[in-house]
């Protein structure tokens, strides 16, 4: 599925300084019954965001109007658990384009990259600086520059570089996906399959 190209993003950010934010929190299983990819943002963090009677939980960050933006900043081991791509869809559908953490679960990271969300891994020290900056000023902006592979706290100018392989970087910058790439090499795959034992 096509997604928006990612180049440079400057935005305020939503802080979630909790470790091991798992995919069941991001989108609980009971909301996985759809057969189309739409509306998942409504149920993003459903059980942290709403009470049993569907009233908003006032102390949850997404319900706090002072925080907003296209960047979600999470604690260590963000996205652990299930392979449900619905978790990444929910984050994208809600309006986030970038998730920052000191550590991502593998499948979540892959899923994010595949749908056009940039997962940015920073050092634990830099993550703390981001949380501190947002705590001091909820309107503090971050700039994520994919080409330069850097993330900057705009107010202080503090910056750190992040890793991404050049293949994925190229895809995100241009809005390409892996399926286009694979379709273009089907002859090579068919020849490989001929020799396959199974």
């Amino acid at each position: 599925m096509a997604y928006d190209k990612f180049t440079v993003l400057t935005s305020t950010a939503v802080p979630m300084p909790i470790e091991n934010v798992d995919t069941d929190q991001i989108i609980p299983a009971r909301f996985l019954k759809a057969t189309e990819r739409k509306g998942f943002g409504d149920n993003l963090f459903r059980d942290w965001r709403y009470n049993g009677d569907n009233t908003p939980k006032q102390d949850f960050v997404l319900n706090n109007p002072i925080y907003s933006g296209k960047i979600l900043v999470g604690g260590k081991n963000f996205g652990s658990g299930s392979s449900r791509e619905h978790a990444a869809w929910a984050i994208y559908d809600y309006g986030f384009r970038c998730v920052v953490s000191s550590f991502f679960a593998d499948i979540f990271k892959n899923n994010s990259l595949n749908i056009g969300i940039l997962p940015v891994t920073v050092s634990p020290a830099f993550l703390d600086k981001i949380f501190t900056a947002i705590e001091a000023d909820p309107k503090a902006e971050l700039t994520v520059d994919l080409e330069k592979q850097s993330i900057t706290i705009v107010a202080t100018g503090e910056s750190e570089s992040f890793d991404i392989n050049s293949y994925k970087k190229h895809n995100l910058t241009n809005g390409f996906d892996d399926i286009d790439y694979l379709q273009a090499m089907k002859g090579e795959i068919a020849a490989f399959a001929e020799k396959s034992l199974y």
């Binding site: 069941d24 996985l32 057969t35 392979s83 991502f104 293949y167 379709q183 090499m185 199974y198």
Partner: protein, 468 residues
């Protein structure tokens, strides 16, 4: 010519790389692809949008499991959204010529149970499914891992996915397991040592005496839980136990094809001198029946221990305290004697015949505790049949338990099998995340023996005290 010593993982991975992309992922060929109703519909929509066909429909197998009722499966599914999702799997499978074991089919069951029991899962294969517990199939010496829906679409359309090769870890467990200590305890012990993120970025080979002596069912339980420490998958070298399990299963090779396959499978082991990026060794004698006390699978301990303090527990103090608060537990609490409201035995982790044998061994001659609601859910119809044939059903019935029909059930509670808010469940499944078994539910992960002990006593109980 002497070859560089290779790990089992290297041998299988490297033989499936179609193309290496410089500073990018490998184009990785997939031998077997399992699909289910929840993570496949959007992938099929993607194919239609692109006007692309399924490249090798005979390499994909569909089964309905995540979102199915575990009672009255002969009746129409009540929830219209669930019914629609099941129908989509059936329609898409028929349209593209994919084998489909839907609700009511005698082969139906949890994808990671039916694959192996029908001989679809074989050593040396690459296997994926839109489900993180695909790691289960690594028990056969296959590279198996969970993928997202975009990748499901990749496999359907090109039989390949794009994957960077993970790093390699080996976990050795030496010695012999004590009384009442099961494969589930081995894996919960390892995860408690490594933490829920301790193997992220790695593929794990399990080696040593404990795994060599383990049944295929036990190996599947261990490999299944690999993802719970962040590993993409786990793998165990195939041996005589593996070959004996596979031999004669419906889709396993036969005759000359069997001989040829067997000769290849025997080469699937880590060479002497091959190296790993990380290696850990544990002593089986250190492992006792395990139970979790928190909201990630790394928060586990021996059942006679006390809940660690936040300093001992590791990670951030705030996250640790949030977790204990959710569970309604306190640092230094003993888990023994804590009240249990629900017991669930089943799932791709512990829904195989051996698990029900273990459960029945404790339950036999005892009665279900009155206040406990128990969900006994076989992993497949084949397991259900075995439960009946082996007399396990009689033992369960005598003790006041009812057997349900196969499916993922209360493991992820997509269907009606939900633990109510605030209630405590001892569960043989794989995740104790907040609300995993229903909004507000509190899950304690454990083995079938610990689950059985809780079911008959109504509290967390060391199963060894109930064993002869």
């Amino acid at each position: 010519m002497s070859q560089v010593p290779a790990t089992l993982f290297d041998k299988v991975w490297d033989s499936h790389v179609v193309r290496k992309i410089e500073d990018g992922p490998d184009v990785f060929f997939i031998d077997r692809h399992f699909i289910h109703e929840v993570t496949s519909p959007v992938a099929f929509l993607g194919l239609e949008g692109r006007g692309v066909k399924v490249m090798f429909p005979e390499k994909t197998f569909a089964t309905a499991d995540h979102n199915t009722p575990t009672i009255n499966q002969h009746l129409p599914v009540q929830d219209p959204l669930s019914a629609n999702q099941l129908k989509a799997l059936e329609t898409n499978s028929a349209k593209y010529g994919i084998s489909h074991w839907g609700l009511g089919n005698p082969k139906n069951g949890i994808v990671h149970v039916v694959g192996p029991e029908n001989g679809i899962t074989l050593p040396g294969m690459t296997i994926v499914c839109g489900d993180s517990h695909t790691s289960t199939h690594g028990a056969f010496g296959a590279i198996a891992f969970g993928i997202g829906t975009s990748e499901v679409e990749m496999v359907l359309s090109s039989q390949c996915i794009m994957q960077p090769k993970p790093k390699k870890m080996r976990i050795n467990v030496k010695g012999k397991l004590g009384k009442g200590v099961t494969p589930k305890d081995v894996t919960l012990y390892i995860i408690s040592r490594l933490t829920a993120a301790g193997a992220t970025g790695y593929f794990v080979e399990y080696a040593g005496e404990v795994f060599e002596n383990m049944s295929m069912e036990g190996r599947m339980t261990v490999c299944n839980m690999s993802i719970e420490m962040g590993a993409r998958g786990g793998i165990i070298a195939p041996d005589e136990t593996t070959f004996a399990y596979i031999n004669g299963r419906e889709k396993a090779p036969q005759g000359a094809a069997w001989d040829k396959a067997l000769a290849y499978w025997k080469t699937l082991k880590t060479d002497e001198g091959a190296t790993f990026d990380k290696e850990y060794t544990y002593d089986a004698a250190e492992i006792e029946p395990m139970i979790t006390y928190g909201t990630n699978p790394g928060m586990g301990m021996g059942i006679t221990q006390h809940i660690p303090s936040s300093e001992e527990g590791g990670g951030s103090k705030a996250s640790y305290e949030k977790s204990l608060q959710y569970m309604g537990f306190a640092e230094e609490d003993s888990m023994l004697g804590k009240k249990v409201d629900y017991v669930f035995i089943g799932s791709c982790t512990n829904g195989r015949i051996e698990d029900f044998r273990a459960f029945a061994a404790i339950v036999k001659g005892r009665k279900k505790a009155e206040h406990v609601t128990a969900w006994i859910v076989p992993g497949s119809h084949i397991v259900e049949q075995q439960i009946k044939e082996e007399g396990i059903l009689d033992i369960l019935t005598e003790a006041g338990f009812q057997l349900r029909q196969p499916g993922c059930s209360a493991c992820l509670a997509m269907n009606d099998d939900k633990v109510p808010a605030g209630k405590y469940a001892v569960s043989t499944s794989n995740r104790n995340f907040e609300g995993r078994q229903g909004p507000g539910s509190r899950t304690m992960l454990a083995s079938p023996l610990v689950a059985a002990a809780a079911a008959v006593t109504g509290v967390v109980t060391d199963p060894r005290t109930l064993m002869a």
